[in-house]
């Protein structure tokens, strides 16, 4: 019983909060927009939960019956292993495209890990290994695309959107402030004030 209540308590709380939110009568001078902000605050955990759920890596796509697995190789030195781990995080598995070489269980990723190791053991630098794979699989094999003319949008697009959105907000706010300032600044001239007094019988 106690376990039940502790289990359901958070939900009830959220529900009652939401209910209260809708039942509360807004005072007439309340600032509009507050309720929508509250709703966002309340929804945030749900959204974050959804994102976490969707962001989980999907189970790797199985290759039906599959090719021969990459044969296991001799153990390597911890230093080399650490270096390769780091390097493999920079390389994309081309079969399960949202995984790095380091984390992909696919057959091709195993082959490419072996390739990376063989290249490293033959004395190639990290950059040379990346170039080697890039010459065969293209930019796509790199998890961090190179900064080129055609990838500017990819690299700077999000910041441009952020700046544009911020600019738009600022501009809207400014024109709104100006509007209200203009309205406030409109005072009656003495003649007009006199007319108002006369009309109101004051």
């Amino acid at each position: 019983m106690t376990a039940m209540t502790t289990m359901t308590a958070p939900f009830k709380k959220t529900n009652s909060l939401l209910g209260a939110e809708f039942e509360v009568k807004m005072p007439e001078n309340a600032r509009p927009g507050l309720s929508s902000i509250w709703r966002l605050v309340l929804l945030a955990p749900v959204l974050v939960g959804l994102l976490v759920l969707l962001g989980r890596p999907l189970p790797a796509m199985a290759e039906p019956s599959g090719p021969a697995p990459t044969p296991p190789m001799a153990p390597m030195s911890p230093a080399l292993e650490a270096r390769l781990k780091q390097l493999e995080k920079e390389l994309r598995c081309l079969v399960c495209q949202n995984q790095t070489l380091a984390e992909s269980p696919s057959g091709l990723a195993g082959d490419l890990r072996r390739e990376v190791r063989l290249l490293a053991e033959s004395g190639k630098s990290d950059e040379e290994i990346k170039a080697h794979l890039r010459a065969r699989y293209g930019d796509f094999v790199l998890y961090r695309p190179p900064l080129e003319l055609k990838t500017y949008l990819l690299w700077f697009g999000p910041f441009a959107l952020l700046l544009g959105g911020g600019g738009l907000l600022w501009w809207l706010g400014r024109s709104r402030r100006r509007l209200s300032a203009g309205a406030r600044a409109q005072t009656l001239s003495t003649d007009e004030a006199k007319r108002v007094r006369d009309l109101l019988g004051g």
């Binding site: 090719p67 021969a68 990459t70 081309l94 495209q97 390739e115 065969r136 699989y137 293209g138």
Partner: protein
């Protein structure tokens, strides 16, 4: 410009002229339609995204020399075949495996192409046991002039292979001219591969 005008007209609450009022209407209408336009723009992009295949990666090897290799032949493992052996003719390299389901799907197309005898097809038996590969060919037909065994898949890496089947068209000079990813079908054959092969054979 127009926007500013309309704001001034509202702000100063000066008697707006008819012209300013009409531009105001347009600006206001524009403000309502802009989100709609942005929305449809997004819809267009997302809709297009639905029909794009993220696995259809362009090969960086197009117009590059064919990677050098020398591999044992599938049917006669004591003999090898190298890329240099194919110089002077237009040829296809087909990556396949007996474990590969899509390869079975494309196999009749390859068999038919082999019967036409216009272009030699070399099979790259990718990460397969040679005995399995041989049994598979005996069962479904052998369209290949010959197949080579890439048992550990290292040659396939040099070709930028990331899944079977894949088919490369290579010209007389040993330059890769085209790569088809996924199973070949009659349409791809008729519309892309055969015309390309015909053109390549015309220009030595």
């Amino acid at each position: 410009m127009d926007e500013k005008k309309s704001i001034e007209a509202v702000e100063g609450s000066k008697p707006a002229t008819a012209a300013a009022a009409s531009t105001g209407v347009w600006v206001r209408a524009w403000r309502y339609f802009l989100p709609l336009i942005i929305f449809f723009g997004l819809v267009w992009f997302l809709w297009r995204g639905l029909s794009l295949n993220p696995r259809d990666l362009p090969s960086v090897l197009i117009n590059k020399p064919v990677p050098e290799f020398s591999l044992p032949q599938l049917q006669q493992p004591d003999k090898t075949l190298s890329a240099a052996d194919m110089k002077g003719q237009v040829w296809l390299l087909n990556v396949w495996g007996s474990w590969c389901v899509s390869c079975r799907y494309e196999h009749p197309v390859l068999n038919e192409l082999a019967q036409l005898q216009i272009v030699p097809i070399i099979g790259l038996s990718w990460k397969d046991k040679p005995e399995d590969a041989r049994a598979w060919l005996a069962k479904y037909g052998d369209p290949y002039k010959l197949s080579v065994s890439d048992i550990d898949g290292r040659v396939a890496i040099n070709f930028g292979v990331y899944g079977a089947p894949e088919t490369f068209v290579i010209d007389q000079a040993g330059t890769i001219r085209y790569k088809h990813t996924g199973p070949l079908d009659a349409v791809a054959m008729r519309d892309t591969l055969l015309p390309l092969i015909r053109d390549l054979k015309k220009t030595p």
